[in-house]
Subunit: 329 residues, 2 copies
């Protein structure tokens, strides 16, 4: 996705050199303050071939958490909203769900109980609502849901709740030869349905949690198929994030942004590499335009990582003061 401003520029002057383009503001939705300055200075420093801090393009790996970092995550993770809608659709063939936790909580909309169950209830709801179908059918179902479901407060499709300043940052990094990855606790197959269109990040650069799939040589349509199974096989959260990065990506990132304690180890892993590194936390501080939450939130809790960011002098992006706009038009 190009931002409107870079798209206009490119259309008007397709032969402009990258250097000239860079002199236009690549981050117009960011206030001209410390956060923006830190980002641009880092990128320029590692891009100059005559700099001691120069990093070759192939090592310019940037990783972003998704929920609460690239798009909103309140009042509940958007994938959970999808799972709850899906559980309602599947409920008629599962009468037992009306009386058993966590499904009765899912059906009655008691998300507080679900979130309080410390992942266990959440995972059961996700597993039941995401399995027993082929990967291709799942993609179709997620696509239909994203096209019709709306956020309860903003009354817009969830995909419009990607943060405009982050879309600009992704574009800016890619214009400087970075390869951008999502590294999220969310389900990898859920995110891949929209990541390319919304963030410009192709499926093969999305790392997430996953459930098992089972290959059948002859599916119901006579073709080979992958059936989604309920067993979770990888949780890409907390200490799982560096493991996921190692498994999927095989290089250590030089640039990482997160927003919660689930990102702590990814940020530590990134910061711990040799040479220049850029590590940032997005702090949700804007009740009026989005939400304000940190240490006591059930969704996107930011506590230990905030302490560590202060200790290590990682950049803390203050949504309210650093961002001119939150969502695109």
């Amino acid at each position: 996705m190009s931002t409107p401003s870079s798209r206009t520029l490119l259309a008007a002057a397709p032969l402009l050199a990258a250097a000239t383009l860079a002199s236009a503001d690549p981050l117009p939705s960011w206030e001209d303050g410390f956060s923006k300055k830190s980002i641009v200075e880092f990128v320029e420093r590692i891009s100059r071939e005559d700099s001691a801090d120069y990093i070759a393009p192939r090592e310019r790996i940037a990783v972003f958490d998704n929920d609460g970092t690239l798009w909103a995550e309140q009042p509940i993770y958007f994938q959970l909203a999808f799972a709850l809608d899906r559980v309602k659709i599947l409920a008629p063939v599962h009468p037992e769900w009306r009386t058993t936790a966590p499904f009765k909580d899912a059906l009655s909309g008691n998300t507080q109980a679900l979130l309080a169950s410390d992942q266990k209830g959440l995972l059961q709801v996700i597993a039941a609502s995401h399995s027993g179908i082929t990967t291709e059918d799942f993609n179709t179902i997620v696509g239909s849901w994203l096209a019709t479901a709306k956020h309860p407060r903003f009354e817009r499709p969830y995909t419009e709740l990607a943060y405009q300043p982050m879309l600009e940052l992704l574009d800016y990094l890619r214009s400087q030869s970075f390869k951008t990855f999502i590294v999220s606790g969310g389900g990898v197959e859920f995110m891949r349905v929209f990541a390319e269109q919304v963030y410009g990040i192709p499926p093969e650069q999305v790392i997430g949690s996953s459930t098992a799939t089972r290959f059948v040589a002859v599916g119901t349509n006579g073709k080979p198929a992958l059936i989604k199974e309920p067993q979770v096989d990888f949780i890409n959260d907390g200490p799982g994030k560096p493991s996921g990065i190692n498994r999927f990506l095989g290089r250590r990132p030089i640039f990482a942004v997160g927003n919660s304690d689930g990102d702590l180890q990814m940020l530590q892993w990134t910061a711990g590499g040799a040479g220049p590194r850029f590590v940032a936390l997005l702090h949700h501080t804007d009740t009026d335009r989005e939400y304000a939450y940190d240490r006591y939130s059930q969704v996107g809790k930011l506590d230990k990582a905030l302490d560590e960011a202060e200790r290590q002098h990682w950049l803390i992006i203050d949504m309210k003061h650093d961002w001119r706009s939150i969502f695109g038009d």
Copy 2:
């Protein structure tokens, strides 16, 4: 890695258009026969924008098995040769290995017994020889081994036993906007040490089997580290290959090459997609220059996949007749 011929061309005429380059033979180590013609015709067909079979560059995903497809695998998988050497180095601190299978077989060089154990012994030897160290130390150890170990028959470093025709094919596909991936039963971290240098395939495009890693915020050098654990967490072989492709890549390939029964499901999964697909098996038929083996081999057994290739009219590349040279100079 460019092939010598394309490197020379590029150096001599950096501004030649892609179309002009393509008119030079991109596959000089391939005989001018059915196999080469099939490859070139497929690539040209899906690349022409006015063709009904046109495939957009972002969907041009090509997957290659590694052992026996991109490099040799006889008389034993090269990663197993590494593991055996490593077990010998570690043996003094594991006196119990001298009397317990599979380690006593590993130490005495009884590879027949190891291979006959139907993966179990192999996995134990790999687990023991690949764990208990950081991912970074492991990379260093593999790099040192590759720099010094030599193949028993060819007396060359293992990395020189990549197939020249396959290096040309990888280059050719990339010149036509394909993104090339390795999808192998081999260990993902082992392959990543050499895949970029030998095949031009970056770490993030290598999919393989993996063992667990454990994150520690403060490692022995005071920095965060990932410790390699002995537990296998994913076997990317047989029906695991389509699952691995789904998990890591998230798109269905349009081009796949394998050489053994472990590749059968990857080839079926690729062939089963809508639109044009290219699926091929490399058949080892050349005792003089390499090896000849198929249905009865303990390494790289090719039996069911050969039957399926004949039934489905997949391309069967005949090493002896289709390749002018096997290894580079």
